[in-house]
Every structure is written in structure tokens, then in C-alpha cells.
Symmetry: C2
Subunit: 222 residues, 2 copies
DNA sequence: TTGTATAATACTGCATCCATAATTATGTAT
DNA sequence: ATACATAATTATGGATGCAGTATTATACAA
């Protein structure tokens, strides 16, 4: 008899599926979410769907306008200007803390992740690069040992994913990103908390700059 | 004809009422939330109540265990050890940024708030002191001009409020808290960002220490 | 008396239904 | 033709009902 360890509720699964569709920009920012259409699509009633939307709303992925419906949140340039420095500070702190707490094995684990990053870059496998990148950052956050810090960062990262340009920009500066990662990893291996902190901090801000350039180019094209 | 500007949904009102009851420790951590009893109490159906619980869950105030019900979140000493340094960093940064952005009028507004804090302390009006304290912190966060920073901090503060000792500890160190506020304000008036930052930072950590002492005393009494 | 198995109870999760408000479509007057 | 008012439609918010599972109570055996 197999006992279900994680008896996830329907609304949770729906929330996750919607998250994926939002991140994939299949539901771009501004899109109105048609409850009954979606419910029908998923073969469920509106009740769990609406519960899922409440969750996504408190994550900031959708915006609920009472009596007006639910829309995928639109993120402004000002929001990005707010979020990136915040993330830079938080992830920077994580890196510093991670250096202080990481065991030998932990560092080796990070090196392994970084290696797949390098490999993905060489092979031009962008999606694999994305994934390894995410994992690298996340692992460092975990090593910092602060559950709440991790939760805050992950929440903010979700919001960043709303911006289509966010993923595109990474593509254009793959090599630079890789270099920055090397710097971060080097500081970690050398056991230098504050070097790791500034390296991570700058890495994030560099991401913001790349995104800003994307926006400029985008605006010019329009 | 008055047009309702903010047509707040029922689930939002319910969520707010529950928040208050949780913060007031009328529903202490660990309490099981009886859906139908509460729904009956509020004279509503379970549907909006359940939606409210979803919101509170993503705020971390309650924990939903699928098929098992909903419980007020219990916060551990480790959580506090995670959250306070995080808050110290965030609010510290806010203070620094606030100094850089505040106008003359802004600073005067802060002074006014601080004055009610002083007055409340003199009069021994603890609830008024609490309120002015909250306002002071919040105003600084607003002055920092970073909406997301503010949102993150407020979310974390909600979680802190789960700990009954949190409010009690402030009571015991009213004078010290006041002194620390004076230091913060002085740095702001002097236009010294980094002094304000460290003052605010230390103020938060000092709060954590006081809480730890409370916990020790509490443990000893038990 | 204690432990286990079974039955009764209670609660959660989801579906369906309905009232109300918002939106769109239609008609009329200027 | 355009603007406004009214009617029809549609979608949201909330209530109710029901199936399935967790929990508690009861009975029985060791």
C-alpha cells in the first residue's frame, strides 16, 4: 500500500500549471483570465480555479480587480528598478553567508553545477543553461541556511519572470553571465565572503543593465 | 450618487478580520481553524472563507494541510533568527535610501511621528507607542521609494507578529527602543545615510536580543 | 487493561447553482 | 451621425450540496 506523501490539492496543481503558462508567456502580462473557459479547459469547476487565482494574486503574478476579473500582472520598468537592487542585496548576502557555512562537499556540489553551466554554454543549449543558472543561484541561497531569505528571493524571482525580456536578455549575454559566475565561484572556493557578496551583487545588477538595454532596443523598434 | 471606489471582496474583509484575530493572539499559533464554525460566526458561506485562508496561507500566517485542515502557523526560534537579521538588512537599507531621498518636509514629518512616540512613552500609553513605532518604521520604508522593498518588509513583519513575545518584549525595553529611535532620527536629520543604516540595523537586532531574553525567561518559568 | 479492528462521525475539497454587478448591444432622440 | 439611455448578455462573487477521506468512537480480542 503506497501512502501518498504529498496529497496536493487540486487548486495547488492548477496554480502550478498557471504559473508555468504565465512564465512561458503563453499568458502574457495584461491577459484577462477567463475563469469558465479555463475551468472547462482543465475539466474542473471554477471553485478550485478561483482558489488558485487567489494564491497567484498574493504571489503578484496576477491582479484581481473585484467584480472586474483577473489579469496577468504587468510589470513596469520602475518595478524592475526596484526589484533588481533588492535582489542584488539579498543574493549578495546569501553568497556571503553561503561561504561561511559551506562544507567542502557543498562547494564541490556548486562546482558540479557550474560545470554543467559551462558545458551548456559550450553546447549552446540555452534551456539547459537557464536551468543550471537557476540551480546555481538557488543552491547558494540554500547554503546560506536562511529559509526566509530563500522564500523572499524566490518570490521576487517569480515576479521577474513575468518580464519576457528577462529571459531574452540572459541569452544575449551568455558569455558575460558565465564570466560573472566564474568570479562568484572563485570567491566561494577561496572562502572569501565579502568578495562573493560583491561578485553576486554585481552579477545581479549587471543583469538589470542588460535588461535595460533590451528595453531600449525594444522601444526603438516600436 | 456615491460610487464605491474600493469595492473590496468579501474574502478580503474576512482575511483582514482573521489577520487581526491572529495578531491579537485570539487565535494563537497552532490553533485549528474550524471553517464551518467561523463561517457561521461571520454569517457567510465557507467559500469566501476558504479563499481568505488561501491568502493568509501565502502570507505565512496559516498553514494548510491538505485534507487535514488549516492551522495558525507556529513560528520557531530558528525562524526568528532567520527573519530578524533579514529585516535588519532590509530596514537598514531603507533608512539609508530614505535619507538620500527625503525632502525637508519629509524629515519634519518623521520628527512629528517621533514626537508622538516620545509623548506616548512619557504617558505610558503602550498601544499608542506601538502604533507610532509602526508608523515611524513604515514611513521610512515609504521614503525609500522602493515599493517592493516595502512589500517584502511588511510581509515579514506580519510573520513576526505571530510571536506573542514580540510585542511583549518591546514593552520591556521601551526606553531603550526610544533611545535607538533618537539615534536613527538624528542620523536622518544630519543627512547621513550610512549612519542611519547602521542605526536602524542595530535597532532591529537589538529587538531580536530582547526577544531572546524573553524566550529564556519564558522557558525558565515553564 | 491495552492494543487492534471496525463502525460512526465530522470535515475537507470540489461541483453546481443563483443573484448581482459589469459589459456589451440595441434603440431612440437630437 | 453621434450621443445618450435602456435592454440583453455575460461574468463574477457567494451559497449550497455532496462525495470522499481523516478522525474519533466503539467493540472485541489478547
Amino acid at each position: 500500500m503506497t501512502h501518498r506523501i504529498a496529497p496536493t490539492a487540486l487548486y495547488q496543481e492548477v496554480a502550478e500549471r498557471l504559473r508555468q503558462r504565465i512564465f512561458a508567456h503563453e499568458l502574457p502580462p495584461g491577459t484577462w483570465i477567463d475563469e469558465q473557459k479555463l475551468a472547462e479547459q482543465y475539466g474542473i469547476s471554477r471553485t478550485p480555479l478561483r482558489e488558485a487565482l487567489k494564491v497567484l494574486a498574493s504571489e503578484g503574478l496576477v491582479t484581481l480587480r473585484p467584480r472586474r476579473g483577473c489579469y496577468v500582472t504587468e510589470i513596469s520598468a520602475e518595478d524592475l528598478d526596484d526589484i533588481f537592487p533588492l535582489m542584488a542585496m539579498l543574493e549578495g548576502r546569501c553568497a556571503a553567508e553561503a561561504v561561511r557555512r559551506a562544507t567542502r562537499a557543498d562547494v564541490e556540489g556548486l562546482e558540479a553545477i557550474h560545470e554543467t553551466l559551462e558545458q551548456s554554454a559550450r553546447d549552446g543549449r540555452i534551456d539547459a543553461f537557464f536551468e543550471a543558472n537557476q540551480l546555481f543561484h538557488r543552491r547558494i541561497q540554500e547554503l546560506s541556511g536562511n529559509r526566509w531569505m530563500l522564500s523572499v528571493i524566490q518570490d521576487l524571482r517569480k515576479v521577474l519572470k513575468l518580464s519576457r525580456l528577462h529571459s531574452l536578455s540572459l541569452e544575449g549575454r551568455l558569455q558575460q553571465s558565465l564570466d560573472e559566475h566564474r568570479t562568484i565561484l572563485a570567491a566561494i572556493k577561496a572562502g572569501q565572503p565579502s568578495a562573493a557578496e560583491t561578485a553576486m551583487h554585481d552579477h545581479l545588477l549587471s543583469g538589470r543593465e542588460a535588461l535595460a538595454k533590451m528595453q531600449d532596443a525594444h522601444a526603438k523598434a516600436a
